[in-house]
């Protein structure tokens, strides 16, 4: 795993992040190289978490900053905090580090490189909603968990925390980080989504109002508490302020985590020359864009949403011109079908049929009915799950059918741009299949 930054002058000092017109990137990552930041270095750079001394004070500050969730949904952070604070009795706060998206590394990278920024954010969020029941939800990655435990021990010794933090294991599943799946897992159940309402901020972990924020969101929150809304808005656009972490998959196979401003042109993040045919934005619940369209867009929902895509958690993939987009989509469709929690009839029945039809279309001279069938099934599963898994899967599938339509024509003639079908998009080697793997 590597990380870099799109800002050419990496050596810029973070101390200038006080608000003199300098957006101060990178904000979340260390100024020099990928060195894990220990508490001493962290405190030298940022000082201690600026507790306000009273629940609720941070909420208008976050509203002014315009921070939105960085886990994919881009929901306004202040609204979640206000809802949990309002809900009253004994709220729970959980930092969500379950990064089930196979194309995303940014949360793992952030937790590894800047654990104290995430932990500061967790503490400040706990104070803001008046909670002392605080947890961190992480995949069972022993090295990463060990690093976080060590960071938490450093903090306990230094006495910088508002509340103790408990670590909870997330299973290695795509949907493990879905809010209600998280709430169920942290309550001692299986990490499977449930029907809403009630929302997790109303009734989450053991039935208590629960604030769940992605770990990157918490890191931004920790910086906004220190440097304020004006500083936060020095990066990004008026509508979508701030910076975000992105996982970039270049057409040559390079994979990097970078921190960049919202509104950055996609062509300055991905090399989009004649060797790239399409860009996937928003990971496997996201959408494909023709490379020429992507080259005119920026990293913003304002640009991407009208084209059917979104920023999501910042996973961006450039698909080389010599790969088969339909074969790629078929592999991902099968993965998404296997990652269904199997609880909702339409998702359980529809996704495997969609995946099978996608494999049919990926084969030479496919049955022409496969596309019609797939569009029919896509309509049947959309909007009919307890979570957004069917909707996100359908978004991915439909965009693939549209963007790779020339490839479908080619298959109809018994040809393919890549007869070898070399896999390009990253997928886990072993897809977990038993019910126990949800725990």
């Amino acid at each position: 795993m590597t990380y870099g930054t799109t800002v050419p002058h990496q050596a810029r000092q973070a101390q200038t992040a006080g608000g003199d017109g300098d957006a101060g990137l990178p904000r979340l990552l260390p100024v020099h190289g990928a060195v894990p930041v220990d508490l001493r270095t962290h405190r030298q750079r940022f000082g201690d978490p600026p507790y306000s001394g009273q629940a609720g004070r941070l909420i208008p500050v976050l509203k002014a900053a315009g921070l939105t969730g960085r886990g994919g949904a881009a929901f306004p952070v202040h609204r979640k905090l206000a809802a949990v604070a309002r809900a009253g009795t004994k709220p729970v706060v959980i930092g969500n580090g379950a990064e089930g998206e196979p194309a995303s590394d940014k949360d793992k990278s952030l937790l590894w490189i800047s654990p104290h920024l995430v932990l500061d954010g967790l503490q400040l969020a706990a104070e803001a909603v008046g909670s002392t029941a605080v947890g961190l939800y992480l995949h069972r990655n022993p090295r990463l968990q060990e690093r976080l435990r060590a960071a938490m021990a450093e903090r306990a010794a230094a006495g910088v925390d508002f509340a103790g933090v408990e670590i909870f294991d997330a299973p290695p599943r795509f949907l493990a980080g879905e809010e209600s799946a998280l709430a169920s897992r942290v309550s001692g159940g299986l990490a499977r989504p449930r029907f809403k309402p009630p929302m997790v901020f109303e009734r989450g972990v053991v039935g208590r109002p629960t604030l769940v924020h992605n770990v990157e969101t918490l890191a931004h929150l920790a910086l906004i508490a220190r440097f304020g809304p004006r500083w936060f808005r020095l990066a990004g656009t008026a509508d979508e302020p701030g910076s975000m972490l992105c996982t970039l998959h270049q057409a040559d196979g390079r994979r990097d985590v970078v921190e960049t401003e919202l509104g950055t042109p996609l062509r300055s993040l991905l090399t989009l020359d004649g060797h790239v045919q399409a860009v996937l934005s928003g990971g496997y619940h996201g959408a494909w864009l023709p490379a020429a369209d992507a080259a005119r867009m920026t990293l913003s929902n304002g640009h991407l949403e009208p084209a059917g895509a979104f920023v999501g958690a910042g996973a961006l993939v450039a698909l080389p011109a010599d790969r088969c987009g339909i074969a790629e989509a078929a592999r991902v469709a099968r993965y998404l079908a296997l990652e269904s929690a199997g609880q909702c009839g339409p998702c359980f029945n529809g996704l495997p049929r969609i995946a099978a039809a996608m494999y049919e279309i990926a084969s030479p001279r496919p049955d022409p009915r496969a596309v019609t069938d797939m569009i029919h099934w896509a309509g049947l599963v959309e909007g009919r799950g307890a979570c957004h898994h069917p909707d996100g899967s359908v978004r991915f599938i439909r965009s693939a059918l549209h963007v790779f339509r020339d490839e479908i024509t080619l298959h109809g003639q018994g040809r393919c741009v890549d007869p070898d079908r070399r896999p390009f998009l990253p997928l886990p080697r072993d897809v977990a299949l038993s019910a126990a793997d949800w725990s």
């Binding site: 499977r192 989504p193 449930r194 029907f195 309402p197 609880q343 909702c344 009839g345 339409p346 998702c347 029945n349 529809g350 049947l380 009919r384 799950g385 307890a386």
Partner: protein, 67 residues
């Protein structure tokens, strides 16, 4: 307050009773799971709606406040 019908799809196991009791608002897909008409429930159907909600064998049909 206007109400809206929703299925908890994690609870629904496709008995199909709701579509028989309330064909005006509910049809079944090809796998036997209910497709519920969008929008607030018309008052004229109130009685049938309540019946469908209470008779669902797994209580998967919910009458919730319309957004």
């Amino acid at each position: 307050m206007r109400k809206q019908l929703r299925v908890d799809p994690t609870a629904c196991s496709g008995h199909g009773l709701c579509a028989e009791l309330l064909p005006e608002l509910i049809t079944l897909d090809e796998w036997g799971y209910p497709i519920v008409a969008d929008g607030p429930v018309p008052r004229s159907l109130d009685r049938h709606v309540r019946r469908a909600v209470t008779d669902c064998p797994v209580l998967a049909l919910k009458l919730l406040p319309a957004p």
